[in-house]
């Protein structure tokens, strides 16, 4: 079953795209790989020849070796899991709150008047600058990390929910009314699917903000997590572990973005037709 659902979009894409530009595109994709590969090779070479001091920047192979070592003894998995838990909890709390408030402000005039002004004002605060205040409020433990992530995730989801609902074509809502759809049915068939592309955009931005908040939050008195791993390694001058931590953060961002894109493509199939025309 999964095979048939996977095969369908692929054949459609293949049918839509002419053959020659596709070959050109794949050639271009390979060409775009050249400079990153050259950079990594140059970095390796510079480290091996002693041009780069190992305590400043170790060779990429050493970073990978450190990663392999930490992955095998389970350390990496423990810290990764803790970081992921914080990110997940923060995203869930901030995201749900943003969804509820954004929907209220987008749909109801009262919600708009009551909710939107304070949110617009709070938006101007750089949420990472709130760390000292948050430490006073919730201490330096887990609540600090989770609140930071939740704050980071809140704003993109709130604004995109709000905009997604507001940007829905009023004429479509009217057409749905003439088809006999009541309030609840209009929400389900018109408002929700109409706002979904904006929601996805908000979620992607929120996940980016969540990782960033996590990086900052985990450098404040963490006992676990990727950030802790990096801070501890710095004290022992294990530069390769510091670089490894950065790499893990980057990979987390990349993987979450890719996963979201796949989900988006599945749920917003109808937009493929839009792009083709």
């Amino acid at each position: 079953m999964s095979r048939t659902t996977l095969a369908e979009p692929l054949t459609e894409v293949a049918a839509a795209a002419p053959v020659v530009p596709r070959r050109q595109r794949s050639a271009r994709r390979w060409r775009r790989l050249v400079s990153p590969v050259v950079l990594v090779l140059g970095w390796e070479l510079a480290a091996r020849t002693g041009l780069l001091a190992p305590e400043k920047l170790p060779a990429p192979s050493d970073v990978l070796a450190a990663g392999w070592r930490l992955a095998r003894d389970g350390t990496l998995a423990i810290h990764l899991l803790d970081s992921l838990t914080r990110a997940g909890a923060g995203l869930l709390i901030g995201g749900l709150l943003a969804l509820v408030l954004g929907t209220a402000a987008g749909l109801l005039r009262l919600g708009d008047d009551l909710v939107d002004p304070p949110v617009q004002m709070a938006r101007m605060l750089p949420h990472l600058g709130l760390v000292p205040l948050l430490i006073i409020w919730v201490g330096i433990g887990e609540p600090l990390k989770i609140s930071l992530v939740a704050l980071g995730a809140f704003f993109p989801i709130y604004f995109n929910t709000y905009a997604g609902i507001r940007d829905i074509d009023e004429r479509l809502v009217e057409a749905a009314r003439t088809c006999g759809l009541g309030q609840a049915a209009r929400l389900r068939h018109v408002v929700l699917p109409g706002a979904l592309p904006a929601l996805f955009l908000g979620l992607r931005l929120a996940i980016g903000a969540a990782w960033l908040s996590l990086v900052v939050g985990e450098q404040v008195n963490a006992q676990t997590g990727i950030g802790f791993l990096m801070m501890e390694a710095r004290e022992f001058s294990q530069t390769e572990v510091v670089v490894l931590g950065l790499l893990v953060y980057a990979l987390l961002g990349l993987i979450s973005d890719l996963a979201l894109r796949v989900l988006e493509r599945r749920m917003l199939t109808w937009r493929r037709g839009l792009r083709a025309t």
């Binding site: 057409a175 009314r177 003439t178 088809c179 018109v190 699917p193």
Partner: protein, 243 residues
């Protein structure tokens, strides 16, 4: 089906009555007391220059304007086709046609409605994959599937190219012959009104300025001399010089 046939036979009750319909946007009075009656199975064209309030009147009759005064009653069901197709981009054709549809055999009814506009095989397509004419045909199917007693058409072919428009007019004439629905056709196209309507209303300065029966054969064409005479008369009333 049965109820509409019955209603068609008993032509005494009008399908639509509107009395003293008024609508103003701020200080601008768009409709200054419109009275309107449409009999069962009757196609009425509403002609008028741009800004004469034709579309405003249709929106009021469709129940989309809460700020109008006056009384409008639709005896039976009404469906609307707008100038733009207004299909939901995130629903496939069949789901768009079946939007809000309830009752038995919805799938079969949707299929038949799409078949009637010649698009049965495109039921899985997304709106963005269709041409303007095809999308408008689906919009017609979405209205027809509800088996309305009254079809409200707001310049339904206004956004289409000339050739597609002619085809759509033929299609509408055929569907009307098959289903016998009444219709109010808002248009600024005099020929379209003459081709499709049994009666033509001229809207001017917020009132019905003229009520003209179209006494032409059901298979009328613009080549008909009587057609030309009516056309000239209407254009004259609309203030368009014909010579």
């Amino acid at each position: 089906m049965a109820s509409r046939t019955a209603g068609h036979l008993n032509g005494a009750t009008p399908v639509l009555t509107a009395h003293e319909v008024r609508r103003a946007f701020g200080p601008t009075v768009v409709l200054a007391g419109v009275d309107l009656t449409i009999s069962r199975g009757e196609v009425v064209a509403l002609l008028g220059g741009s800004g004469s309030g034709k579309s405003t009147l249709l929106r009021i009759l469709a129940g989309l304007d809460g700020e109008a005064s006056g009384e409008t009653v639709v005896h039976g069901t009404a469906a609307v086709v707008f100038q733009e197709h207004r299909l939901l981009p995130w629903k496939r054709m069949a789901d768009n046609v079946g939007l809000g549809l309830s009752g038995t055999d919805t799938a079969g009814r949707i299929h038949r409605a799409l078949a009637e506009v010649g698009l049965a095989e495109r039921h899985r397509a997304w709106p963005a994959e269709l041409s303007g004419g095809q999308a408008q045909r689906v919009a017609v199917a979405r209205a027809l599937v509800r088996e309305p007693d009254l079809l409200l058409l707001d310049e339904p072919f206004g956004a289409l190219d000339a050739l597609t428009r002619l085809r759509m007019q033929v299609l509408l004439r055929r569907l009307r012959a098959e289903h016998g629905f009444a219709a109010l056709l808002v248009t600024h196209d005099v020929e379209e009104a003459l081709l499709l309507a049994d009666r033509i209303l001229l809207l001017d300065a917020g009132r019905i300025a003229a009520d003209l029966p179209v006494d032409l054969s059901p298979t009328r064409t613009p080549d008909d001399p009587a057609f030309g005479a009516l056309r000239r008369h209407l254009l004259d009333r609309l203030g368009v010089p014909t010579t």
